[in-house]
């Protein structure tokens, strides 16, 4: 028995040791922890600590800049890849990799690249790379960014730095498209010589920081690119994007000085971050608007414009923003927020709330005693979404509308929309990475939502058609603004508020979140 027991204990210990050793091997491959950044409180002065650590809520999807639809992935890519154009601090589109450009006709723009731009492997950026990059995303329909670039027909090379972009039809949004992720330049020669899998494991861009390491679901490490065309960034020796999905853990890392920036801090932790010595909350309006999408299909009470208006008047957006969101929202009656092309300031930072008017509109529509409706809502997708939905239900009840809330897990919610099984209303948040109002107001186009919302307004249809190919910028802006005004009156969607971006920041750095939710490291400085 004694020998056998020893044998058994030996086997067990061997299994444990083996598994522990396997783990240790992998552990040794991890980057050494950021010692100055680990469990100590932030020192305030950071001369010796030139490592910037940023806590993200999710890992990047991949380094294929054309094959994801993920803002937090782009926030990381933004530091490694340059775009042809870029929005400045005032959201005005400015050339980035492009030196000069000229609109030759409605379908063609000629551009010349800045000289001396290099990829991280030393190859120069040329027109060949532009053609390779843009034609890939414009023709490969399996890529997730294809819908945003399929308008490009081809890229014609004139010389090493000069090229023409030709579109299938007049494309007023072309520059908006070229100032986002799809126009991040890929190295043609490097990819063709080494293959895609090699590129995805060892990505190369032209941006201020170059790739060092990616440990999936753990961290992405970058270092400054010595030959950056605007000069080497020397503020940080290393930038670490850490993946910390759990909100409370992310906040704890910030409080203990483990990270310098924590994204998406929930309202319940705002006070904790602000009261902690060495950290504070920074808030910025996002480009995401939360709304109720109403069903205008015949047979639904919401097919009557008066009922839709009544719902709008019964909801106190100000209270939603102040109480449910704890100040994390700005009421609006348009989805096209500031910074977007076509923004209508008259409809922003305002809302309709008049309970008596809501009741009288319902009575006019033939519902003096109200009616019963279903409101679908995701839970945990948007800031305080469940609280907002419950509060809306309470507000509508006061107007006489009995609301049956159906909370849904996100994938089921998406499935419901996809199968067009939505009932009277659902809560949705929509961003606009294009920063072009045309994409927001396209949600009123009848053909697009046939069977889902069935909303149709003839004037909006005409304006949408006219603005889609209008190369006159001023006219197009006026057309988009007019659509917003009609929609605010006709209420196919009840626009509620724009969410804020809520970021916890260490006092040792200077960082201001931006509306596009990018984390552009060259703008982050030590104090």
């Amino acid at each position: 028995m004694k020998i056998k027991s020893l044998l058994v204990m030996g086997i067990l210990l061997a299994v444990l040791a083996l598994t522990a050793c396997t783990g240790k091997e992998a552990t040794d491959k991890q980057p050494s922890p950021n010692k100055g950044n680990e469990t100590q409180k932030p020192t305030g002065k950071s001369e010796e600590n030139r490592v910037l650590t940023i806590a993200m809520g999710s890992d990047i999807v991949s380094f294929d800049i054309h094959n994801h639809n993920n803002t937090s992935t782009e926030a990381v890519h933004d530091n490694m890849f340059n775009y042809l154009f870029k929005r400045d601090d005032n959201n005005v589109i400015q050339p980035e990799l492009v030196d000069t450009f000229e609109q030759l006709d409605e379908l063609t723009v000629q551009m010349k690249l800045k000289p001396g731009v290099k990829f991280h492997n030393g190859d120069p950026l040329t027109s060949e790379d532009v053609k390779f990059t843009l034609e890939r995303v414009a023709t490969d329909d399996t890529l997730k960014e294809f819908p945003n670039y399929k308008q490009i027909k081809q890229v014609d090379i004139i010389d090493e730095l000069t090229f023409k972009i030709v579109t299938h039809a007049p494309e007023p949004s072309l520059f908006h498209r070229l100032s986002r992720l799809g126009s991040g330049m890929l190295p043609k020669k490097y990819i063709e010589e080494n293959g895609w899998d090699h590129f995805l494991a060892n990505p190369v861009g032209t941006g201020p920081y170059k790739f060092k390491q990616w440990v999936r679901d753990d961290r992405i490490v970058m270092v400054p690119f010595e030959d950056y065309y605007e000069g080497k960034e020397d503020e940080w020796d290393e930038v670490v994007f850490r993946v910390i999905p759990e909100n409370s853990t992310r906040v704890s890392e910030l409080l203990t000085g483990g990270v310098d920036i924590a994204v998406n801090v929930p309202p319940s932790d705002w006070d904790r971050v602000d009261k902690n010595d060495g950290t504070s909350m920074k808030k910025e309006t996002s480009n995401r608007t939360i709304m109720l999408i109403l069903r205008s299909t015949e047979g639904y009470p919401t097919s009557d414009v008066r009922v839709r208006q009544a719902i709008d008047y019964a909801i106190d957006d100000g209270s939603l923003a102040e109480f449910a969101l704890k100040g994390g929202g700005i009421p609006t009656t348009t989805r096209v927020g500031p910074g977007n092309f076509g923004h209508n300031p008259k409809l922003y930072n305002t809302y309709n709330y008049d309970l008596e008017k809501a009741k009288s509109l319902l009575a006019e529509a033939g519902y003096p005693d109200g009616f019963e409706m279903t409101l679908h809502s995701p839970r945990g997708r948007y800031l305080q979404d469940a609280e907002v939905t419950e509060m809306i239900a309470g507000m509508l009840t006061q107007a006489g509308i009995k609301v049956n809330i159906e909370f849904m897990e996100w994938s089921n919610f998406v499935e419901m929309r996809s199968a067009k099984k939505n009932k009277d209303a659902y809560l949705l948040g929509l961003g606009n990475s294009m920063f072009d109002g045309a994409y927001s107001v396209d949600w009123y186009r009848a053909a697009r939502f046939e069977g889902e919302t069935d909303y149709k307004n003839d004037e909006i249809e005409e304006l949408l058609k006219a603005s889609a190919s209008n190369m006159n910028s001023a006219e197009r802006e006026a057309q988009i603004q007019r659509i917003e005004e009609i929609a605010a009156e006709d209420v196919p969607h009840v626009q509620l508020y724009q969410e804020t971006i809520n970021t916890g920041v260490s006092d040792r750095i200077v960082f201001t979140p931006t509306q596009d939710e990018m984390i552009y490291v060259p703008k982050i400085k030590r104090k």
């Binding site: 056998k4 027991s5 044998l7 058994v8 086997i11 067990l12 299994v15 444990l16 598994t19 522990a20 396997t22 783990g23 992998a26 552990t27 991890q30 050494s32 922890p33 680990e38 469990t39 100590q40 890992d59 999807v61 991949s62 294929d64 094959n67 639809n69 329909d141 399996t142 997730k144 819908p147 899998d197 995805l200 440990v215 999936r216 679901d217 753990d218 961290r219 850490r242 910390i244 999905p245 759990e246 409370s248 853990t249 704890s252 890392e253 409080l255 203990t256 483990g258 996100w410 994938s411 998406v414 499935e415 929309r417 996809s418 949705l428 948040g429 929509l430 961003g431 994409y439 697009r448």
Partner: protein
């Protein structure tokens, strides 16, 4: 013994086929992942285009047939989300999860053995009640809650351990305690009841009557015999460990299989879910086999049949 092992290994095959079918069906029934891959404002046309491009428009039987054909050749398919082969991605994560599981098991053993034995030797005293009550609480505490509490106390307030991540031994302590506590509670109760039974046996009374010191009676005579069920149950805790790792890894940002699997389920990344469950199933089956072997070594009365 060899015959027994051969027979058990052959039994793996139908089990793994059944598991692959169940997981494939569940992920299939959960719906089309394409809508989740695209942004909220994607058009129906975009959704349909990508569905066709990924072959997800084909009937269940065709998709499953293709999957099984790949599986026979060792190909688990490509991850939709990461656009890379699923199996290497899963295997890449395995060491982190095994490291956490091994450390949790060590912690569970360190807590459970002395506590279980101590509690059994003080049967029905207030100390025993305290220990068994503690075990019930340990088992009842949800991993995510315990994890967050440990972070708040030991990392935020006391600053003893890093909050999250993987890198040094210090990073391992809090997640291992979180995951190990539930298992320790289970083991404590098991050791206690096993010890209580053994301590009432005649040979223990004989040993005591010979005038042996309590320590020798308890640890040399009784404890060794009480280990038979404990050792086997410990091996069977693998599935509990993996289940607990899903939550613990998320709370502590531990880059293991659990985190990968949760992400994959959320995004309906079929290939990753399949590959992860497959690997976990193999681990659990192997540990069950190990438990069987250990049991037979410890207790020769059990025959290989």
């Amino acid at each position: 013994m060899i015959k027994f092992l051969f027979k058990r290994i052959l039994e793996f095959i139908p089990v793994l086929i059944i598991i692959s079918f169940i997981v494939f069906s569940l992920v299939f029934v959960a719906g089309n992942p394409v809508a989740l891959m695209l942004p909220e404002d994607a058009s129906q046309e975009d959704i349909e285009r990508l569905t066709v491009a990924l072959g997800l428009d084909q009937p269940f039987i065709v998709q499953y047939g293709k999957y099984m054909l790949g599986l026979i050749q060792g190909d688990f398919g490509r991850s939709f989300r990461y656009n890379t082969d699923a199996l290497p991605l899963v295997l890449e994560r395995l060491p982190a999860t095994l490291e956490l599981a091994a450390a949790s098991m060590v912690i569970a053993i360190i807590i459970a053995i002395p506590l279980g034995v101590w509690s059994a030797t003080r049967k029905n005293t207030s100390m025993d009640l305290l220990a068994t009550g503690g075990a019930v609480i340990g088992k009842a505490m949800p991993n995510f809650w315990l994890g967050i509490m440990l972070i708040l106390l030991f990392s935020v307030t006391l600053g003893w351990f890093p909050v999250s991540g993987r890198g040094t031994m210090a990073h391992l302590v809090l997640p291992a305690i979180t995951l190990g506590t539930g298992i320790a509670a289970e083991m404590t109760r098991l050791i206690r009841s096993s010890m209580v039974e053994i301590l009432s046996q005649d040979y223990v009374r004989t040993a005591k009557s010979k005038g042996l010191r309590d320590f020798f009676v308890v640890y040399k005579h009784a404890f060794r015999n009480s280990l038979i069920p404990v050792v086997t149950i410990t091996a069977l805790q693998t599935s509990t460990l993996v289940g607990g790792a899903l939550i613990t890894e998320t709370v502590f940002s531990w880059p293991g299989l659990g985190q990968l699997l949760i992400q994959a389920v959320n995004t309906r990344d079929m290939a990753i879910v399949q590959a992860s469950v497959f690997i976990i199933a193999i681990l659990v089956i192997l540990m069950n086999l190990l438990a069987d072997i250990i049991y037979r070594i410890l207790d020769p009365r059990i025959k290989y049949s």
